[in-house]
């Protein structure tokens, strides 16, 4: 994989920074790829829009910051507004269904991530792990069991079962992602 830039964004407190760290850790432990991870610091990490960024590459990663993401996850409107602008034209965008988005050319998926997490798992606390599993399944960065191993090491004790279910939900969403795809500008025009 050439340099691939990932941005996971949402509200501070949703755990996306932890998701970024878990993804990076999985890459280090179970692949021979290079990885760097950066994140929001300060007040925005504790509310408002917050992001974690991960770069994965077969080659040395010199400049360590995300320039134009290949993948953007936005769980909140504020995060989308703040972080969607520099997404690559044909980069992948996954947003929560409550986020209003502008029409674009690249693959775009509007997924009820928060709603399904609440409905199926009874809490939104694990929306980060759902998102992480969705991303991992879509890109096949590491095998499901490997991701589970890292997740279970990193989450608080007593939440293992909940997080296992969150991983399953995320994978399920990735497998059915096409049903959430919205039409691009071009597709709309063709019709």
């Amino acid at each position: 994989m050439a340099r691939y830039e990932i941005r996971l964004s949402g509200a501070g407190g949703q755990g996306l920074i932890l998701a970024g760290i878990i993804l990076s850790e999985a890459v280090v432990r179970f692949t021979d790829k290079e990885v760097v991870q950066t994140q929001s610091y300060g007040p925005e990490a504790r509310g408002g829009a917050s992001k974690a960024e991960v770069i994965i590459s077969d080659e040395e990663i010199d400049y360590p910051q995300v320039n134009k993401p290949d993948f953007l996850l936005a769980l909140t409107q504020e995060a989308y507004n703040k972080y969607n602008r520099d997404l690559k034209e044909y980069g992948i965008m996954v947003v929560d269904e409550r986020v209003d988005i502008a029409m674009r050319g690249g693959p775009t998926y509007v997924v009820p991530i928060q709603k399904l997490t609440q409905e199926k798992l009874g809490t939104r606390m694990v929306v980060n792990v759902v998102s992480l599993a969705l991303f991992n399944k879509l890109h096949e960065v590491v095998e499901t069991e490997k991701l589970r191993e890292v997740v279970l090491e990193r989450v608080p004790r007593g939440t293992e079962d909940l997080n296992k279910k969150a991983l399953e939900l995320g994978e399920e969403l990735a497998e059915n992602l096409n049903q959430y795809k919205i039409k691009s500008k071009e597709e709309e025009e063709e019709e």
Partner: protein, 378 residues
């Protein structure tokens, strides 16, 4: 035992490097973007029989570090710009009494409280001249998480070997960056300990220089050897003296004990220097962008070389002169309004154009900004 491959944060790597070098004491006052260093030391030092103290402020922390050092422990503190300013007086005291210690400064944008969570390299000259008097300085600048580990280990070793404060000068980008690191096997790492006296305690003269390396032995307080320390100029007994010959002998020795081994202190990386007519010089996080700029320039067919400095003080004059003497354009990339560029200008032939690629707005300098200073990019 195999190499250790891990995901690690820059600040965490500083702690790992220091612990592997034998550090058993940390005193500090947390400040962004260095706080993870304090957190990690707090978690790990008690497990290896060490002590962590959160002091009432940065000045007291520096005092505690010097005290612990004299009591025989390898001691560290960490801070950022505002705290680094406060520590300067006692850093000078450590210089004067020759107390080994390491000060980690994770730079953020200043002056004053500036931008707490943003990267900068504005403390380059402060690391050299922040404390008053004509003192030497040993300052290391990591540009990766692996480097943070290795240079932290090296900083502790050199503090012990040269009986001097050593400054590990990071920036927010490297401090907070997590990346894949490959650490050397622990049994490959050679630890240096401060020199101990040969003679009996009764006849001990703390600053009696008999060894060729010009470094006096340092027994721990409480170990039977009694000695006095003072920030005043002092003779071999450790007591004050204002005799001109004592003054010049001590000041010169403080410099010479490091100058004598200068060649072994210069740590740096070079890329494509030979087939180059232009040169980029950088350090710390800026060096990451410089590496990207160098790679892009090479892909465009430009003959560009790259010199990344890890030891910035003492300034590696000969290495910079050697790398730059045959170039027709030198670009110095740094996150300030031009600090180390002055040193480059000082050592280079005045006919060679030297340009600064500088950024000081709290954002990591980009490869494009550095490329723009090269000849023939567009």
């Amino acid at each position: 035992m195999t190499e250790r491959v891990k995901l690690m944060q820059g600040n965490e790597a500083c702690v790992e490097g220091a612990l592997d070098a034998g550090v058993l004491f940390y005193a500090g006052y947390p400040i962004t973007p260095s706080s993870e260093i304090a957190e990690e030391f707090a978690a790990k030092l008690p497990k290896v029989g060490g002590k962590f103290i959160q002091m009432e402020d940065e000045i007291a922390s520096m005092g505690a570090v010097v005290g612990a050092s004299l009591a025989g422990k390898k001691a560290v503190t960490a801070t950022s710009g505002p705290g680094f300013s406060l520590k300067q007086e006692i850093i000078g005291f450590a210089n004067m009494i020759e107390a080994p210690c390491v000060i980690m400064n994770v730079q953020r944008a200043g002056p004053s409280t500036g931008l707490p969570t943003s990267p900068a390299q504005g403390d380059v000259m402060q690391a050299r001249w922040g404390t008053h008097g004509d003192h030497p300085a040993l300052v290391l600048c990591p540009n990766s998480v692996t480097d943070a580990y290795l240079l932290s280990f090296q900083a502790v070793n050199w503090a012990e070997r040269f009986r001097t404060p050593v400054i590990l000068l990071l920036d927010e980008t490297i401090g907070h960056l997590r990346e894949r690191v490959i650490l050397p096997r622990k049994d490959e790492m050679v630890i240096t300990n401060r020199k101990q006296p040969h003679g009996a305690p009764g006849s001990f003269q703390p600053y009696d220089i008999t060894d060729e390396d010009l470094i006096p032995p340092l027994p721990p307080y409480g170990g039977g050897y009694r000695f006095h320390t003072t920030g005043l100029y002092h003779d071999e007994t450790g007591f004050p003296s204002n005799r001109p010959e004592v003054t010049s002998r001590l000041l010169n020795r403080l410099h010479e004990k490091i100058d004598k081994y200068k060649e072994t202190l210069f740590l740096y990386e070079t890329y494509g220097l030979r087939q180059a007519n232009q040169l980029i010089i950088s350090y710390g996080a800026s060096a990451r962008s410089a590496k990207a700029a160098w790679r892009i320039a090479r892909e465009k067919g430009l003959l560009v070389g790259l010199l990344i400095l890890k030891t910035i003080w003492p300034f590696p004059e000969e290495i910079v002169a050697q790398a730059g003497h045959d170039k027709n354009n030198i670009v110095v990339a740094e996150m300030n309004r031009g600090q180390l560029i002055g040193e480059v200008e000082r050592v280079m032939d005045k006919r060679i154009p030297i340009r600064g690629a500088q950024r000081a707005d709290g954002v990591l300098i980009t490869p494009e900004q550095i490329l723009a200073k090269l000849e023939g990019v567009n």
